[in-house]
């Protein structure tokens, strides 16, 4: 071949390079590792792909690794509540390495997988933990698709999902081999704590001074559980926790101190050895808050009219609550009592107090309460158990006070007098409107006003012995009073009695 074309074979080689099958694995030193079942997020949040796990395990064996027995790995996972690789923390990795005698722990997640075999794609992220230190020492990620693997003349292209997956897994194993060959897994067995605080539960999170506070601690250890566990509750206060029912469980109880505020809790774990004792301190692992100040509470009534300092409503009253608190509100209660102090409505809810709530004047059985005055009480409790309460008298008024219309004679003039016999109208009436008609239906006069009692002079020379009256009045709450087609007789007439009559009920016709 002439020298000037010498680069052409090299070019062809480079072009075909991706198509060339992977070179046979160079067998590494027998490194023992544990492969956690591979997570597959395409299945669900906690999905696991056992088929790919087994496939990868076989490939790792070909590359000279010695994977731990799958059953043993799963047994460990079940015992230590490790559902997938995401739950594997540094301590559990160390424990796994110790129990299964591994040097490396592999946790992998499928980041891409195609369900369409014609357009395969696959991706895998691999985290490699050092079993000695429990830390992630290496991490690898490989992903590809058929379109990314296109080669000249389609030689060696992956034709299916299985082929592509195999190729990616081999690439990962090759990269892993490069990392591990000649490099012992980093990490020192002496580093790291020999335990992990799995749970540190403090109940309640908010307390009042003097009330009991409980704690439950669950500790997972590499060897034996600690001989003594104490909880440091204050600068000079330490409490020895008692062992619980299960191994590694400890619990204790003490009284909340008088000092308000957040109280951090630390742990002291002691292992007694023949020659020395090992002491580990976990600082400020949990906390609880002491609060003795009740929350401040006030209530504002909306959609109600203030009458003599009492909110009066007809359809519903909206309560706007204002409160300030140091700790969250845990529950609240609404109670309505009548004048005899009998509770007629009481409901308790847990959680946050809503900013707005409406009461339609119902009792506990959803019956409408009669008009009258009631005592409305709102109570709230914060998470520490401090209570705040606000009570207020409210009134239900669903009807406008009945008005009377009568005729009176003053000297020679005849007046029509509108009155509020209950004398409540002075403050409650908003407006009234009166239409007077002759017995034949002709309008005599029309008047409006805002105050009662009111006197309206009838036209001079009115001859008939009665007038037809239509009266409509509205109180300030919005209740309506109507008199329709009411006969008002002239003074001195036999039926000179102003009749108070509201609309007939339909049932009265029967």
């Amino acid at each position: 071949m002439p020298r000037k074309f010498a680069y052409i074979p090299f070019l062809i080689f480079l072009t075909l390079c991706p198509a060339l099958p992977a070179a046979g694995p160079a067998v590494a030193a027998r490194l023992r590792l544990a492969l956690i079942p591979i997570s597959d997020l395409s299945i669900n949040y906690n999905g696991i792909d056992l088929e790919t796990t087994q496939q990868f395990e076989q490939i790792l064996k070909q590359f000279g690794y010695e994977p731990a027995v799958e059953k043993e790995v799963r047994k460990f996972m079940a015992a230590n509540r490790v559902f997938d690789c995401s739950r594997l923390n540094a301590f559990t990795a160390r424990k796994l390495g110790r129990e299964l005698d591994c040097e490396l722990i592999l946790g992998a997640t499928i980041t891409d997988i195609s369900t369409n075999d014609r357009k395969p794609d696959f991706g895998l992220a691999l985290n490699i933990f050092s079993a000695a230190s429990g830390e992630i020492v290496w991490s690898l990620h490989e992903s590809s698709a058929r379109t990314e693997e296109t080669t000249l003349l389609a030689i060696g292209e992956p034709r299916s999902q299985v082929e592509l997956k195999q190729r990616i897994l081999i690439r990962l194993a090759t990269r892993l081999q490069k990392l591990t060959s000649g490099n012992p897994p980093p990490g020192n067995r002496t580093t790291g704590k020999p335990y992990e605080i799995e749970e540190f539960l403090v109940k309640p999170s908010y307390a009042r001074s003097g009330t009991p506070v409980e704690t439950t601690i669950r500790i997972d250890t590499l060897d034996s559980p600690p001989d003594r566990v104490t909880v440091i509750t204050g600068p000079d206060r330490e409490l020895i926790l008692k062992p619980g029912r299960r191994p590694g469980e400890f619990g204790g109880r003490w009284s909340a101190p008088a000092l308000e505020g957040r109280h951090p809790l630390s742990l002291r774990l002691i292992w007694k050895r023949t020659d020395k004792q090992l002491v580990y301190i976990e600082k400020q692992l949990a906390s609880y808050q002491v609060c003795n100040t009740p929350p401040r509470l006030s209530v504002e009534f909306r959609q109600a009219r203030e009458m003599d300092g009492i909110p009066v409503f007809n359809k519903q009253v909206v309560l706007i609550s204002h409160y300030s608190h140091k700790v969250p509100i845990s529950r609240w209660q609404v109670q309505v009592t009548n004048r005899k102090n009998t509770s007629i409505f009481k409901e308790t809810y847990s959680g946050r107090l809503p900013n707005r709530m409406a009461w339609r004047g119902w009792d506990s059985r959803h019956n409408l309460l009669p008009d009258g005055r009631y005592i409305f009480t709102l109570r709230i409790w914060d998470a520490a158990g401090n209570q705040a309460e606000v009570s207020r008298t409210i009134a239900i008024q669903r009807k406008c006070p009945p008005l009377t219309v009568k005729t009176i004679r003053k000297e020679r003039q005849i007046f029509l007098q509108i009155e509020d016999p209950a004398q409540t109208g002075k403050t409650m009436l908003q407006a009234w409107h009166l239409n007077l008609y002759s017995p034949t239906g002709n309008e005599i006069l029309s008047r409006s006003g805002t105050e009662l009692p009111a006197e309206i002079e009838l036209p001079q020379g009115y001859k008939s012995n009665f007038v037809r009256c239509e009266l409509e009045a509205r109180d300030q709450i919005g209740n309506l009073f109507t008199l329709s087609d009411e006969r008002i007789y002239m003074p001195g007439h036999d039926l000179d009695v102003a009749r108070q009559k509201t609309r007939k009920k339909w049932s009265e016709d029967f």
Binding site: Y7, L11, L41, Y45, N89, T111, D121, A125, F129
Partner: protein
């Protein structure tokens, strides 16, 4: 003689030029760098140990956020920028402190993380857009990545990046990325490379 000499010179450089044409990263020149804003005056060198929190996704798919988090986690370990805390330790911390998964930790929680997990910062991410690329095969992804200080709860750096698979095309199909994970991997590399240039990590 001079003609022959010139001809020989041309043949000598032709393969080199051809090779450069084929294998130079074509998209590299025109691709804009990630937009990174340094938000605090804190010296970045003191950040040694970090944790990657699950990413949030604008389409509300938590699995996509988790997938992105694991890819970024993997790339962060490979980049050797920081020492990265295993995901399981974060899970355990969230469980122990009764923080719901997916909840962004507040300042108090970040301080507790610092105390208990001995981390200097957390990396949070948000995928804003993920859709089929309008220009050819592959996907278009835009995301934000923040480095949050565990002492103050403030963002140390915020990076925004928008990429599509064809941005990485060199020539023909070479370099073209058609998978979501492949694109996220490249984006992670771009961001961490820029963080390195800005002086983050490496302690």
């Amino acid at each position: 003689m001079p003609r022959a000499g010139l001809s020989c010179h041309r043949h000598k450089f032709l393969p080199t030029l051809l090779l450069l044409f084929l294998f130079l990263p074509g998209g590299c020149g025109g691709r804009p760098a990630p937009i990174t804003k340094t938000l605090t005056a804190e010296p970045p060198a003191r950040i040694c140990r970090v944790a990657v929190l699950p990413f949030s996704c604008s389409n509300g798919d938590p699995r996509l956020g988790l997938k992105a988090e694991r890819i970024f986690f993997s790339e962060l370990v490979q980049a050797h920028l920081f020492r990265v805390l295993p995901e399981g330790d974060i899970e355990l911390f969230f469980y122990r402190n009764r923080i719901l998964p997916g909840t962004a930790p507040g300042t108090d929680e970040l301080r507790a993380m610092r105390e208990q997990l001995e981390i200097d910062a957390v990396i949070t991410g948000r995928i804003n857009t993920i859709e089929r690329s309008p220009n050819g095969p592959g996907y278009l992804i835009s995301l934000e990545l923040d480095l949050v200080d565990t002492v103050s709860g403030e963002k140390i750096a915020a990076t925004f990046l928008r990429r599509q698979g064809s941005d990485y095309r060199k020539i023909l199909h070479f370099g073209l990325i058609t998978t979501v994970s492949g694109l996220l991997q490249q984006m992670a590399r771009d961001i961490f490379q820029q963080w390195r240039l800005r002086g983050y990590g490496g302690c």
